[in-house]
Amino acid sequence: MEDLKKRIRANKLRNYLFLIIGLLATLVGLLLLCTLLIDLALDGASRLSMKFLLSFPSRFPEQAGILSAWVGSFLVLLVTALAAIPLGVATGIYLEEYGKKNWLTDIIEINIANLAGVPSIVYGLLALGLFVYFLKLGESILTGGLTLALLILPTVIMATREAIRAIPNSIREASYALGATKWQTVQWHIIPYSTGGILTGIIIGLSRAIGETAPIITVGALTFIAFLPSPPLTPEFPYFSFQWLMDPFTVMPIQMFNWVSRPQKEFQLNAAAAGLILMAMTLLMNGLAVYLRYKFRKRVKW
């Protein structure tokens, strides 16, 4: 009997120890995140200013800024969103509402699952061969945007599918029973009811895209740009132009990368400041996505 009690105590002790270890393991990552943010803030806060946001990069670290970088990021993300959203949502709708259980659908699904695991730099190589040289789009904002669109496509597709799957079948049956066609059902029910989930997925995808560096470097974004892309509005007819799509560009993470690679301490401070802004953007977008997910889950209680 004593032996048994000893055993039970030993087991319980081990159990309790694990509780602590498990909690610690979980906190390691969070600890790292906090340390990272504090480190960035300590180094970079001094460089944060309006001037920093509105200046171009320069050889002199005190004068360097991220203007071309964040404008570039914004424009590239715009192209990414416009390319990835229709394509991703259409694919999601097809797979959930139209696809039958045949070999074709299987191939499509396997492909999407595979693409989700392809390293981002391989997308860069694809874009280099396909967009830059084969389609002759050059090292431009359009290329950068399309590359990132390919990268986040699996995310958008999977978010769309999950949002659509959450819609109960009874709603579909009610629609069909009233004589609606498949497209009418998709148009008036499936799309409106899944918009929340789709939007969340898009924002998560874009928040990933904003921090991507490797594929953008591969397609030829420059690391030192001291000018902005052509303005979209022109003074003469027809008053707006698409020239900016074909201009060279840079993005925030590349600017940070460039500064980190320099030996001078001052440039590293700049890198920290850029990193802070990048983190702020990422956290903001993720926060928005989480908020939207919560809000939409409350609105439609199936």
Binding site: R14, L23, T26, G29, L40, P119, S120, T181
Partner: protein, 296 residues
């Protein structure tokens, strides 16, 4: 009925348009394989396979270029190995803690926080590895060089924890409660139940999680490009600088290798090596995850 025919045509057209969009993903994969292969064939026409796979020096941009890919592969494996040593045990521990021990409210807070870890841009992690972690490690290991495999390896490991933990956790949550109850009913503690019953039942899912983690580490670029160095180095010593397949591609892209030259094509040779490494792992992971869905 003309009305019916018009409607049927419209519905079929919409379905066809949606199908074309869906097939785009297949097109992307095909394009990746095609472009990588096409440029690689060009590369291998000039560089014999033996030199490529068995050579121990990678200096494609020198006047007398050498094209042995082993240093890049060892660089990748070394950093990946360190990352995996960090991420897999920690990831599993976190998963066990969250699925078997943690109170529900705590879980709700921790899960999104961990997702945040995966959302941080990798260039920020690279900055952190080079400028924060390496100096700290040098305090303990004075012979640690400024660029090394250890620091980015550790950072990558922590960065990958969420991938490993969330897939493992999904696998463990899927284990039905009544299997756990069988263990508890015999007087086992949570720890014993977790390790002796739940983990073995969730084995395929956990293996899939490990594979995802490894695949992610192999494909990581910026952390190693910034903190591991730009010199290919055939070594197993994590304290030395190394260059990975991914970092090499970045290095060439930043440079001036003109389109069409062998130097340019080297990035595709490195790329196709990378692609097949991750493809193999992804297929394995996909198959394993399919198996868990079938089991439950």
């Amino acid at each position: 009925m003309n009305h019916t025919r018009k409607r049927k045509i419209k519905e079929s057209a919409i379905e066809a348009a949606l199908l074309v969009c869906a097939l785009f993903s297949v097109f992307i994969t095909v394009s990746i394989v095609f472009i990588l292969s096409y440029e690689s064939f060009g590369f291998f026409r000039e560089v014999p396979l033996r030199d490529f796979f068995l050579g121990t020096q990678w200096t494609p941009l020198f006047a007398n270029p050498k094209f042995g890919i082993l240093p890049l592969i060892t660089g990748t494996l070394l950093t990946t190995g360190i990352a995996v040593l960090v991420a897999l045990p920690l990831g599993l521990l976190v998963a066990v803690y969250l699925s078997e021990f943690a109170p529900h409210r705590l879980r709700e807070i921790i899960k999104p926080a961990l997702e945040l870890l995966a959302a941080v841009p990798t260039v920020v992690y690279g900055y952190f590895a080079l400028l924060f972690l390496t100096p700290i490690l040098q305090g303990f290991l004075p012979e640690l060089s400024g660029f090394n495999a250890l620091s980015p390896g550790i950072i990558m490991g922590i960065m990958i924890i969420p991938y490993v933990s969330s897939v493992s956790e999904d696998a463990m949550i899927a284990v039905p409660m009544h299997i756990r109850e069988g263990s508890y009913a015999m007087g086992a503690t949570k720890l014993q139940t977790a390790f002796k019953v739940v983990i073995p039942s969730a084995f395929s899912g956990i293996a899939a999680a490990f594979i995802i983690g490894i695949s992610r580490a192999i494909g990581e670029t910026m952390v190693v490009a910034i903190a591991a160095g730009g010199m290919p180095n055939l070594t197993a010593n994590p304290l030395e600088p190394v260059q990975t397949l991914t970092a090499f591609i970045v290095q060439v892209s930043l440079g001036d290798a003109p389109h069409g030259t062998v130097a340019y094509k080297t990035i595709f040779a490195a790329g196709i090596t990378l692609f097949f490494m991750t493809l193999g792992l992804n297929i394995l992971g996909f198959w394993l995850r399919k198996r868990i869905r079938e089991l439950y």
